[in-house]
Each structure stands twice: as C-alpha cells, then as structure tokens.
Subunit: 496 residues, 2 copies
C-alpha cells in the first residue's frame, strides 16, 4: 500500500446519518424479517414509494415544525438560474421537491392515485425517512419506519387488526413488558369541552398535555396556563386526563386540582371502581369517564366506541397489553379517531404509535377515504433490543474460509464452487500466503469464519479437503469434497 | 365517502420516480432474495450507507457530467440565510450535501473510515441511488443498484469471485444467454499507444470507442477524428479494438481501416487462428493481440494477466459466458485494471458492469487500497425478466379471506388469529356485509385470495369453518379450525 496524494475529505457519514456495517445489518434484517412475516400473515402487502416527493405533497401535513424539518432539493440548471435571477430568492423559490418525512403521507398520495387498489388496502411499508432534526442520542436524520395501515373502512376491526399485528411483531421479537396505550381524539375533545377550554385553544392544550411524561403534572398545569387556559380549566383538564390518579389517595394530582372538585370526582371514581371490581383497567376508567363526562352525548358515544374497540382488541394478541390512557394526545394533527402508542418501561419515548386519520387521503384525492395505521419505530426497537440483549446469535458472514497452499488458484476456485453448491457460505483466501496467516485471518475480527477448509497438494490429488473447526480445534483430514457439508453442518449446529 | 374540499395536489410521484405496488415489490423481492442468497454463499456481507453524503465526498468522482446529475440539498435556516446574504449566490454556496449517486464511492468512504473491517472486505450493498438525469424509457432518477466488491487485494482471484458470483446470480434468475465481456484498461492504453494517439487524447478517444454499439464503425471513426485523432491513428485504433472482425473476410472494418495495413493485420490474425484451432475465443484473440502489439512489454504483461484471469474464470460459473472484448471501455474514469460488462442480446445497454479500481479508496484514506467490483443493474434485470416472462408465480397477498355473517366481530378476530397461528396469510373482511359481496371481494383484482373461509353462526358454535376454493368452487363445510390449514395448503399446492 503506497501513500496516496491529494487533499483528504472526511470519511464520516454526515451528521445524524449512519453507516450500517454487516453486524448492524444482521440485526436490522432480523427485525425486518419478523415484521414482514407477521404483517404478511395479517394480510398486509408491501409497497415502496420514492425518497423524493413534490413539496406540494409534503408541506402542510406535519404542522409548522415538521415543515421546517423537511430536506429540500435545490433546483438545478435552468430552474436554478431562473430562481436566482428573480427579485426574491428564498427557500420557497429555490426548491419544489423534498425528501420523504414519513410513510403516511406517501401512502395517502398512493391511495388517492391508484384506482385499481383493493377497496380495503392493507399495506405495510418499511423504508427510511429524513428529518433535518437536531441529531442526538437515538435521534437521527435518516431512520427507518415500519408502517402498517388499512384504508377504506371505518370499522373498528381495522384498528384491532393494526394493533394486533403490531403486538404480535413485538412479541415475536421477544418483548414481554410493553403496554399498548389507547385513547381517542373525540374523547380528548369531550374532556376539553368539559373543562370549559376555549375551542380555539384545543390544539395548543393537547400539545401541553402530551408532555405529561416529560414535565409532570405541575409542569403541564403551568404550561396550560401559559397557553391561555384559565387556572380552573387547566386544573379540570388535568383532572380528566389523569382521572385514574384520583383513585389513588394521596396522589400528587390532589395538589394540582381544586380540593373540593377532586373530592366530588373521587367519589364518582370510587363508585366506578366498586361496581367493576376485578374488571380490567379500561372498564373501570371508561365507567369513571362516563360519570365525569355525564350529559355530553358525543362523549357517551365515543366511550361506547372505545368499549367496543377494547372488546375487539381482547380477541387479538394485543389483548393482554391494552390500557386506556386518557392523557395520550399524540402530536400529529391528522388523527381523527382512536390513537395508540406502545410504551416500554425503559424507554422515554414510544416504540410505536398510530391512530385513525379519516381526512388525510381526501386532501389528495376526490373522495374522503377513512384510514387507520401504526408506525413501528424500527430504530427505537433496535436500541431497546440491543440494551436488553434480545438478539439471537446472528451471522451473515462466511461459514468456511477456504485456505490453500501448493495448489493453483483455478483448483481453489473449483473447490469453492463445489462447497458453495452444497449451500455453504464460503470465502476464499484471495492470495497465496502461509497457512498460519490464512488460518489467523479466518479467526480474525470481522471475519470469524467458524470453519477453515484447507486445500493442499495431497487434498487436491484426492479431490478431498481438510476441515478444521476453529473453536474446538477439531480437524478432519481427507474429507471427500462432496461430503464436506455434512461435517461442517454438524459443527455449526447449536450445541444442545 | 363524502366529497372533500380544498385545492388538490398532483398524486403522481415526481418525474423519473416510481411507486412500487405490491406486485412490483414481489418481483423486486424475488430478484433481491436470489442476489442476497448467492452473494452470501460467496462470502460477501451486506452493508448500507446513508442516502445523504457530503458533496465533498461525491464531487469529482464521476466526471463532469456525473457531478451535474447530483441532487443537492438546499441549506436550511441560518446556513441558508448566510448563503443568501453573501455577495455571490450559486449552486456551490447553497448546498454542501447531496444524494448518493452510486454505491462505489460510499464503499470507498466506508473502507477508508472503519479500521476494524477485515483486510479483504467482501461487501455487497443493495440500495437506491439518485441521478437527476433526463427521465426516459427504462431510465429513472431513483433506481436500485446491487453492488458486490472486494477490497484489499490485487489478486485476480478477486476478479474471478466477483464475476463468478454475478454469473451465478444471473443463472439462478434464469438467464441463459448472457455474455460476460472482459477487457483491461492497460490493454486499451497499449492499443492507444500502438495507434500513436497523443496521450492527452486517451480519455477522449475511449469515450468515442465506447459508442461502437450505438453509432457503429463509421460513426466512431468520425468521432475519433473530431476529437483530434489523425485519420491514421483513428483507423489503427479501430483496427485494434475490433481486431476480431479482421478474421472475417468482407467485414465492414475493411472499409474503415487502411487496406494495406489491414492485409498485414489479417495475415497475423489468420496465423493466430490457425495455431489455436478449436480454442475458445479469448485464446485466439489474446494471441492475435500479442502479435498486433508485439514489442510493447507492458502490453505483453497485461495480455498474460488476462490469460490468467480467463483461466481463473473458467473455474467459476462465469466460465461458459466469458468473451474478450477489446472494444469495451466503460465510462467511469476510476478503473485501473480489468473491466467487465454483462450483455444480453435484447438489451441495448448492459445488465451489469464493473472492474478494478485500485486508486479510489486512496482518495479518501491514508493508504491506497486495491479493489474490484461489479454493479448489477437491478432495474434492467427486472425489465428484461418482465419482457421475457421469466418470473415465477409470486404472491405476497393473503391466502385466505375470512368472511363472516351473523357472528360478532370478536369471534371473527379470534378465528383469524387461530388461522394465522397455523402460518396462513389471512385477511379479515373488515365490515359486516352480505356474503356474496364478501366473496366477490376475495376474488377481486388486487386481492385475489385463493381461498375464502366463511364463519357463520353454525360454524362459530362448532368451532369450525367453511372453506371454499375460489378457482375450483370446491367447498368443505364444518372443517375444525385447527385443521383448516391442511385443507388450504392442499388447495394451494401447485398442480403436479
């Protein structure tokens, strides 16, 4: 290797982007293959969409903050010349295409574009998305999403299928402690009405409520007031979204809401609890909310809908994981019905999230098309699995390194071919070198071939091979090449 | 479905980009899974790199034309404000990142970045690349490449392994008529020397030679002269790169080159042919070139190297496909040794191409690292396979549509779960509807479930299901749910 000349450029990937080396890919493929297998059994079919979309497709779907995180592609040639010659030059005039920000908007575009899609389009999509976010621990600018959605039906069976499939994926991956949190946009609205919050403040109030995990009760109360809610409304809203805590004497919620009010509520809660002893969490909380929101017809309707959804979910693998979570708001503005989130105790953010969005496809097409879906956070799933040591032993690398001495390279390649024909993954040491060096390479970091096959002059003459199991040191001389795989496979079988 | 309001945006993907619907994905996955399987058996391991690279990584690697086809990402926020406030605003000041243009430059960056990679790094990579080319038939702005490369060795075993793996992929896909064309950059240079072409015109002359397939002998001769070669040099160079045609009396080459000169050459060719009767094409042509380039030591060396490469290739699955093709030039400037291309008769362009590039990694790292690789053109492979009807029957869709009437949705979901537990791909009709409508849906375009499973009140009471094979109309009533998969699998087995 000679020194090379010229200016060197950085060889790191850009900030927030990652190279995936073979061991990374093996872990990603492990997860993705389980996702595909489970989604396939649920009748979902895969699609892919381009990385690049028209900005007219992307803008205005993710809220102002999302729009600012879009990567835009600079105009080229004549279009760039024209843009630069114009009186006003800005972000808006310099680009009309950008990189995909999520997989839901592309699905909505696809659902509106292709008339021949099935009425109930059950699609999954596993592709990277790009967000020009500030990079940080576990936050990347390029990351994969695994989305699963059903379009064309308002039936709650769709919610149940999406949640059931996601739960089965997580179980198959080995997660045993996840919680599927469920709420409903209309329930949130009913609580906002009941708290006498100005309708115009609804979106803003939900953003604050969504931070409960991060900034706590006091923090959210303060933020709600900063966002223009009266102290009474803020306290009431907190009481509703955290109503479960009213059932715990001494809960910090009692420090935040009005004592008189909370006493009244507490009594309603105890009644709901005593009438539903030994019932699951969601039955009790639904009952409690029915009393809290008594008199609001719309609320009664949505509580009935949620009760039915919980019943359906009980018949899916999601059943043991479900929890009604009235404080769940989820940021994206396009949700219209049930919303979900998957949480595990050791992750501040969620492993998956989704919900019903009945208006988004209509923004693209001639008709409103109802839809519901869930996005699995592949990167977060990988992080937690890594931290918990949940990966099985995975290898994409060669099973055999073919070493050779005192024979011609053509014979080496023929032998490699014969071994590969037996289905073995075989790497050939590419240069002529001392056997010790070749064996050392077989065992080196990044190669770690479990078996070395040695082809010398004697072996070549006998159309045989010497096999060496590197971990145990066991060696078999003169194995006929056609029989090599039997020995190798025995060595490679996991110990019982 | 109600009419929705608001301005509609186009729902087509941007020009030159494509949506892949489930049937497309099934075909793409079929090809990709064979690529992975074969490359894996050859000891190659997968990596992935980010879509976004620093422009400093990309620029200057693909020639001027390539640089112009790069997609650049517009600066954002402060960086954009600063760029727009500067005296000069241009493409160069508005972006410092761009989209991946190929997979070879990212590999070179990765090989230079990670010290822990194996000395002989055998990697494959299957990812999309982006080029802002004029879209056209079979030419896209986003398309997948499948690259396979070996870094760290100058041994020709690496060339043989790369070509062998590519040939085995194509055979496994069902290609029976492809040709692996082989040439060598140093052989091209020797021919250029022998044709007395000015060294400074070397690159330019090769660009013209590369067009032989497209513009023919006369066209290339004219272009060579336009590029500054003397008529004598142009004719000589054509005589060398097309020397095989000198062995065919009456070849059009005789109209282009000097008659006296071609007679002398013809005699050398006949001698090479007569001494190598019944030898493969490459033996004859190598022998012929040895005579044509007699006296050039460097040429003699490279012809010996090619002879050895052909011997090695003879021991791989590429053996029956190889052809020495002295006119093969390949556009990319980074090749330094052997170059290859895979051609099929019914495609104007190549199915795959590659070569040795011993200087590229050194442009990134501290050391020169030799490397050789091949890129399979996934999109072209798909086009030819489609045209020739080479795909097996592929389905990612549901095997069973679960229809239901007079039963509750929770029981339907339980039944779906039980069928899925048997490994079946099951879609649930999500709404309550007449049976006829549900069965019609099972058989509709885009769904095409081969089997309908019908759950009515009788079946639910008996924990059984009625199964209907839609193609034959065969129906089995009251099949115990646990036994459903046996019947369904029998129906789904391909007829013998």
């Amino acid at each position: 290797m000679g020194k090379s000349k010229g200016k060197k450029v950085s060889t790191k990937p850009p900030s927030g982007m990652r190279d995936f080396l073979p061991a990374d890919i093996a872990r990603r493929q492990h997860v993705i293959s389980i996702v595909r297998e489970v989604f396939g059994r649920y009748g979902f079919v895969p699609i892919e969409t381009p990385a690049i979309e028209n900005l007219s497709t992307l803008l205005g779907k993710y809220g102002e903050e999302g729009d600012q995180l879009l990567y835009r592609l600079l105009h080229r040639r004549d279009a760039l010349t024209r843009a630069l010659a114009a009186d006003e030059v800005s972000e808006a005039t310099l680009a009309d295409k950008g990189l995909r920000y999520d997989l839901t908007v592309p699905l909505a575009r696809v659902a509106a574009q292709y008339g021949a899609l099935p009425k109930f389009f059950k699609r999954y999509q596993i592709q990277p998305v790009w967000r020009a976010d500030r990079p940080g621990k576990g936050r990347f600018r390029e990351f994969y999403q695994c989305d699963v959605d059903i379009t064309g039906t308002s039936s709650l069976v769709a919610e149940a299928e999406v949640c059931g499939a996601a739960a089965e994926v997580l179980e198959k991956l080995g997660f045993e402690d996840f919680e599927l949190r469920i709420n409903h946009r209309e329930l949130l609205r009913a609580m906002i009405r009941a708290a006498e919050v100005d309708e115009a403040l609804e979106g803003s109030a939900l953003i604050a409520v969504d931070k409960l995990d991060k900034i706590g009760l006091e923090g959210v109360k303060q933020e709600l007031e900063e966002r223009g809610l009266s102290p009474e409304s803020a306290a009431k809203l907190l009481g509703f979204v955290c109503c479960e805590q009213l059932l715990e004497p001494g809960s910090p919620l009692y420090n935040v809401v009005d004592p008189q009010q909370s006493l009244t509520w507490g009594i309603l809660g105890v009644a709901a609890l005593s009438e539903n002893e030994d019932q699951p969490q969601h039955v009790v909380v639904l009952e409690f909310l029915k009393r809290l929101l008594h008199g609001d017809e719309k609320a009664a309707e949505v509580l009935d809908e949620l009760a039915l959804l919980f019943e359906l979910l009980g018949s899916t693998p999601a059943g043991p994981r479900i929890r009604l979570f009235p404080a769940l708001a989820r940021g994206l503005s396009y949700y219209t019905g049930a919303i979900f989130e998957v949480a595990v105790p050791d992750l501040g953010s969620s492993l998956a999230g989704g919900g019903r969005y009945d208006n988004l496809i209509g923004m693209f097409g001639k008709h409103e098309v109802p839809a519901v879906g869930m996005a699995l956070g592949l990167e977060r799933i990988l992080v937690v699995m890594e931290q918990r040591g949940m990966f099985p032993e995975l290898s994409e690398g060669p099973e055999v390194l073919l070493c050779w001495l005192d024979v011609g390279a053509p014979g080496v390649l023929k032998t490699a071919h014969a071994l590969r024909q037996q289905g073995l993954r075989v790497e050939v040491y590419p240069e002529s070198a001392k056997l010790k060096k070749q064996l050392g390479y077989a065992d080196s970091e990044g190669v770690k071939a479990p078996v070395a096959a040695i082809l010398g002059a004697d072996e070549a003459a006998a159309e045989a091979i010497t096999l060496k199991h590197l971990a145990s040191g066991e060696q078999k001389r003169g194995v006929p090449i056609a029989e090599a795989s039997a020995t190798i496979r025995r060595w490679l079988e996991p110990a019982q």
